[in-house]
Symmetry: C2
Subunit: 234 residues, 2 copies
């Protein structure tokens, strides 16, 4: 039996689920597809893996083409390869989620694509199985963020504690005990208080913090304790 | 720009990292490769994705061919697609880890391949990047098992508490406080005490338990609390 029988004719693509946080809610970046099939419909941004690049390389290239951003936090979050997922050809798609601070992105938006941020829970119908891709990416984001403090990637360099609390609330769809959350976060050493205050969002103002990147790398597990276990379900 | 430029000539394979637990230690199932390139060298079991199957389908087929087992717990655990990972052709491999109880496997071993269990930390040199695949699978197994009680898949239907404790110790390379572990496990409702005792491994004997599958499905998150967060590092 020739077990390692070659099977050509399968194309390999990547699709990017680009999550953004605008300080208040989670959003997703979608494009209006410029080519057939499904031209002019909303879609995730994707592309085929080229012969000289790895799938991760392809995902970075795609993201960079759309946003101009480099060194963005990305991670693979699922393989979509059912034989019938596209009707006229066989494409296996590897998905990657990216986390970006939407404010940072505004300045370098590309004109080449019709790209738009949508609220994560209120976006237009998407082509193929892209909706399932988003669902899988959300699930991965939740489990990953329970083990590692990756959500800091969605925040600007300077952030307030109310901001990070509201980010966690968005991702897990929960209401946090703010005092408790703040206490645990501060005692983790993960964030460093700055002298400046954010006075835009409250009269009293909230101190800005920045990430302690050394602790971030060392104690990547410490966030485990912040989230109630039931918040990860569903 | 034709962004969706097709790029043929890339082959898609799956490779299976088959973890087994023999009651005492973790093992991995390897095969001696029967075909070129790298004939007669030790390797993970793999195969190409066929045109009528999904990558998960290919992984199940490969596992079934090797072990005869069906409905085995499998999960994708990484994409290996560097252009130079094989010298004469371009293959992107999607890896899946499988968890099986080695005792269950003994009865249905296939003669078609030279397959052998090796201790996880003491196996022969492997071809290509298969060593990295195992490392990535171990990491995924650890984070997944911290969130979900998937390690029960590695146990026989009837198991003792010392058995499950030693499984957790193997996976995380830690020494558990057995009394504490046992207390938390029992209070979770995840396991049901049987009347029978295992008298092979101690004079006093240890009661057998079975998994409460309803609670298993409901409370898949409850294992979060059993493991110290530092045990996940490295």
């Amino acid at each position: 039996m020739n077990f390692y029988n070659n099977e050509p004719g399968i194309l390999i693509a990547v699709d990017c689920i680009i999550f953004g946080f605008n300080g208040e809610s989670l959003e997703i970046l979608l494009i209006k597809r410029g080519i057939e099939p499904e031209r002019n419909k909303w879609s995730l941004m994707g592309g085929f893996v080229q012969s000289d690049e790895s799938p991760e390389g392809a995902a970075s290239r795609v993201l960079n083409k759309l946003t101009g951003l480099e060194n963005v936090y990305m991670e693979d979050c699922g393989i979509f390869g059912d034989p019938g997922r596209e009707s006229h050809r066989r494409v296996i798609s590897i998905t990657y989620f990216a986390l970006i601070d939407t404010l940072q992105y505004q300045h370098i938006i590309s004109d080449e694509y019709e790209a738009k941020w949508f609220p994560l829970d209120e976006h237009p119908t998407l082509i193929f199985d892209h909706e399932e891709m988003i669902t899988a990416a959300k699930r991965k984001l939740r489990s990953k963020a329970a083990l590692y403090p990756i959500l800091f990637e969605l925040l600007p360099e300077k952030f307030t504690i109310p901001q990070i609390a509201s980010l966690y609330e968005c991702v897990y769809n929960i209401e946090l005990d703010k005092r408790n959350f703040s206490r645990k976060l501060l005692s983790s050493g993960l964030i460093i208080k700055l002298k400046e205050k954010d006075k835009e969002n409250s009269k009293k103002g909230a101190f800005f913090y920045r990430l302690n990147t050394e602790i971030y790398k060392e104690k990547i597990m410490s966030f485990l304790r912040y989230l109630p276990s039931w918040s990860m379900e569903g």
